[in-house]
C-alpha cells in the first residue's frame, strides 16, 4: 500500500542545506586577512535605474535559499544552466547566479583565480568571494538564452523578449566580467523593519514548521498586496494536504528591485500579514516570509527558482496560477502549468520537474483562476462556476488603477484592513506604488543594515 500520510518535510534541493554565514567575529577577521582586495557592491542599472543588487543573491545563496548553489557560477556551470537548466551536479537550477564587474573595476582590483575578494556593502565588510575563475560573458546573449525564444522554445515562448521586460533587462545590463567562486557572509546583516519579522531562511523555516508540528505545507508565491482572489486561492489550494488539508500556508514574498508601478515590498509583506492579524486565516496556520531576489519575471523559468527556494524551506506543495511570475505576453499564460504538468522539452524537461532526474520533491498545485461570481455569491473557481458573462475576473493592474484614481477598492476585492496597510505605506512614502524616487531611495537604504566591522590594515590602503 502506498504511504498516504506525509510525515516529514521534503529534503533540501541537492540533499543538503547550504549555510555560508560566519557569525564568529574572530573567524571573520581571519578570513578577511586572506583577502587581497576590497570591492564595493554596486547595483545593476538599466537606463540609470536600479534593477538588481547582487547582494540579494549573495544573501539567498549563503542562507541556503538557493541550495545547492554556493556562489557565483563558473563558465561550465553557466553553460550547463543555460543549456539544460541543470547544475553540473545534475540538480535542476534555472537561472545563472553571477558576480559581474566592469572591465575597469576588474583592472583596478588586480585580482585573479585563487584570490579572495572582500565585498563591501553600505560601507561595511559584508562577504567574501573566493575567486575560482574569471571569464567574460556577452550579456545580451545570456539574456536571450535565459528566457528562450519563439524559435527555440515554441511550446511556451510567444514573442521575442525585449526592453519592456524587466528580467531581460537585468541580464542585458550585467557587466561583462564574471568572477566565479563561493560566497561567505562574514558580517551578518540586520533586517530593517518591517522585514525583520518575516525573515525565515530555510533553516529557521524548517525549525518553525517543526515547532508548529507542520508536515504538509503549501507555498504561495507573491509580489503583490493580496486581494480576495489571492486569499481564496491560498485557502482552497491548501485543501491538497494528505488525509486532511495542509497544516501550513506559507506566503513567500519576493523582495527586491521591482518594476515601477508595483506595490512597495513593505506593503506587500504587511498586507499578507494582515490576512492573519485581521483573522481571515488563523495565524497558527499562516506564516509570512520573504526571499531576497530581484524578480526576473520568467514565468516557467521563475517557477523553478520558486521550487528551489520553497523546497529548501521545507515546503511540500506549491501553488502555480495563471501567468505565474509573468510580465507582458512573452510566454503562454499557462506556461508554468504546462511545465509542471507535462514538462517543456526545449527547456530540458521531458517531464514535469518532479519526475526528471535532479528534480524536486515539492509538488505543484496548478490552479486555473478565481473570479467573483454574483450568482455563486463567492470567489468562484473557474473550473466550477459556469455563470458566463456575469462574473468579474481579478486583475492586479485593474486594482492598482482604482487606487491610482483614488477609488477605495470594495471589500469584494480587498479586505479593508489590507487596503489600510497600503494607505499606511502611502503615507510613509508619499506614493502608493514604486516610482523612480522610491526605487532609488530603496536601493540606497536596502532591506538591511550592517554592523560596523574594522577592515584589516592591509585592505585600508
Amino acid at each position: 500500500m502506498p504511504e498516504v500520510r506525509i510525515k516529514t518535510l521534503p529534503p533540501p534541493h541537492g540533499g543538503k542545506l547550504v549555510e555560508r554565514v560566519v557569525r564568529d567575529p574572530q573567524m571573520a577577521r581571519k578570513l578577511m586577512e586572506k583577502c587581497s582586495a576590497v570591492y564595493d557592491i554596486k547595483p545593476t542599472l538599466f537606463k540609470g535605474n536600479p534593477v538588481r543588487n547582487v547582494y540579494r543573491e549573495i544573501m539567498s545563496v549563503c542562507y541556503g535559499f538557493f541550495s545547492p548553489v554556493e556562489g557565483s557560477m563558473t563558465k561550465a556551470e553557466l553553460e550547463s544552466v543555460l543549456e539544460r537548466r541543470r547544475l553540473l551536479s545534475g540538480w535542476v537550477f534555472p537561472y545563472p547566479i553571477l558576480f559581474d564587474i566592469s572591465e575597469e573595476d576588474f583592472k583596478k582590483l588586480g585580482v585573479g583565480a585563487g584570490d579572495w575578494l572582500l565585498l563591501r556593502l553600505k560601507g561595511e565588510p559584508f562577504a567574501i568571494l573566493e575567486i575560482e575563475e574569471v571569464y567574460e560573458i556577452v550579456p545580451g546573449d545570456v539574456a536571450v538564452r535565459v528566457f528562450g525564444t519563439p524559435e527555440k522554445n515554441p511550446e511556451v515562448v510567444k514573442v521575442p523578449f525585449d526592453q519592456k521586460h524587466t528580467g531581460y533587462n537585468i541580464y542585458c545590463s550585467l557587466n561583462p566580467i564574471i568572477l566565479a567562486g563561493k560566497y561567505t557572509i562574514i558580517n551578518e546583516p540586520k533586517f530593517r523593519p518591517p522585514f525583520d519579522r518575516f525573515w525565515y531562511p530555510p533553516k529557521r523555516a524548517r525549525e518553525e514548521f517543526e515547532k508548529r508540528g507542520w508536515t504538509t505545507v503549501i507555498a504561495h508565491q507573491t509580489r503583490n498586496v493580496p486581494h480576495t482572489g489571492h486569499e481564496a486561492l491560498m485557502k482552497q489550494a491548501a485543501y491538497i494536504g494528505d488525509i486532511k488539508p495542509c497544516d501550513g500556508i506559507v506566503v513567500n514574498a519576493i523582495v527586491g528591485a521591482k518594476r515601477i508601478g508595483d506595490f512597495p515590498d513593505e506593503a506587500i509583506v504587511e498586507g499578507h500579514e494582515m490576512i492573519h492579524l485581521a483573522g481571515y486565516i488563523k495565524p497558527e496556520r499562516h506564516l509570512v516570509t520573504f526571499t531576497l531576489w530581484d524578480m526576473r519575471y520568467g514565468n516557467p523559468i521563475e517557477s523553478l527558482i520558486h521550487a528551489v527556494i520553497r523546497q529548501n524551506m521545507g515546503i511540500s506543495f506549491h501553488m502555480f496560477g495563471r501567468d505565474h511570475a509573468a510580465l507582458g505576453e512573452y510566454y503562454d499564460i499557462y506556461a508554468t502549468q504546462i511545465l509542471w504538468s507535462k514538462g517543456i522539452p526545449s527547456f530540458g524537461f521531458d517531464g514535469p520537474p518532479y519526475e526528471v532526474d535532479g528534480g524536486f520533491y515539492i509538488r505543484p498545485q496548478n490552479i486555473a483562476e478565481f473570479w467573483y461570481c454574483p450568482k455563486c455569491l463567492e470567489f468562484a473557481y473557474s473550473d466550477n462556476c459556469n455563470h458566463k458573462g456575469i462574473y468579474s475576473r481579478y486583475s492586479g493592474s485593474f486594482i492598482r488603477g482604482l487606487i491610482n484614481e483614488g477609488v477605495m477598492p470594495p471589500p469584494q476585492i480587498y479586505r479593508p484592513e489590507v487596503y489600510k496597510v497600503v494607505v499606511k505605506w502611502w503615507q510613509k512614502f508619499g506614493y502608493p506604488f514604486n516610482n523612480e524616487k522610491y526605487l532609488k531611495e530603496r536601493e540606497e537604504r536596502l532591506e538591511i543594515d550592517l554592523p560596523h566591522m574594522e577592515l584589516p590594515a592591509h585592505l585600508k590602503k
Binding site: 519579522r197 499564460i333 477609488v407 477605495m408
Partner: protein, 133 residues
C-alpha cells in the same frame, strides 16, 4: 482580437451621463460593488495607447490598464462630449494628450493620500504574531 478600455463610473460620473443612452451601457462588476463603461478598442489603436505611457499594459483580461488617472478622466470627458462608446473616443483623447502632460507628470510623483482612519490596523500591528528573528 480587440482589446478593451474600462472607465470606472462613480456617483459623479454617473450623474454626468444620467438620462443619456450611455447610462444604459453602464455595467456592474464585482456583484455591483463597482460600475464601469467598456470601450472596445481595435488592436492597432490599443497598441498606440499602450505606447504613450511607460507603465501601461494589457492585462490578462485583454484590458488596457495602468494608464494615468488623468488619461482616464480625459477619456470619460470625451465619452460625454461625443456621446459615444466607440474607438473614436480613445482617438480623440490621444489627440489631446498634450493638454494633460503636466497632470500626468505630477501623477507619477504624487497622488493624494486617502483621508481614512487606519488606527485599527496600527493597533493590530502593535503585537504581531511573528516576531523579529
Amino acid at each position: 482580437m480587440a482589446k478593451f478600455f474600462g472607465v470606472v463610473i462613480d456617483e459623479k460620473r454617473l450623474a454626468a451621463i444620467k438620462g443619456t443612452p450611455l447610462e444604459e451601457k453602464v455595467e456592474p462588476i464585482f456583484g455591483g460593488a463597482l460600475k464601469r463603461l467598456v470601450i472596445e478598442v481595435p488592436d492597432d489603436l490599443a497598441q498606440k495607447t499602450i505606447d504613450q505611457f511607460t507603465k501601461a499594459r494589457f492585462d490578462a483580461r485583454g484590458f488596457i490598464e495602468e494608464t494615468p488617472a488623468a488619461f482616464k478622466r480625459l477619456v470619460f470627458k470625451k465619452i460625454v462630449e461625443l456621446k459615444s462608446m466607440g474607438p473614436e473616443v480613445i482617438e480623440k483623447a490621444l489627440a489631446e494628450l498634450d493638454s494633460i502632460k503636466d497632470e500626468i507628470a505630477k501623477e507619477s510623483q504624487e497622488l493624494p493620500i486617502p483621508d481614512i482612519d487606519i488606527s485599527d490596523i496600527l493597533e493590530l500591528q502593535k503585537n504581531p504574531v511573528q516576531k523579529p528573528a
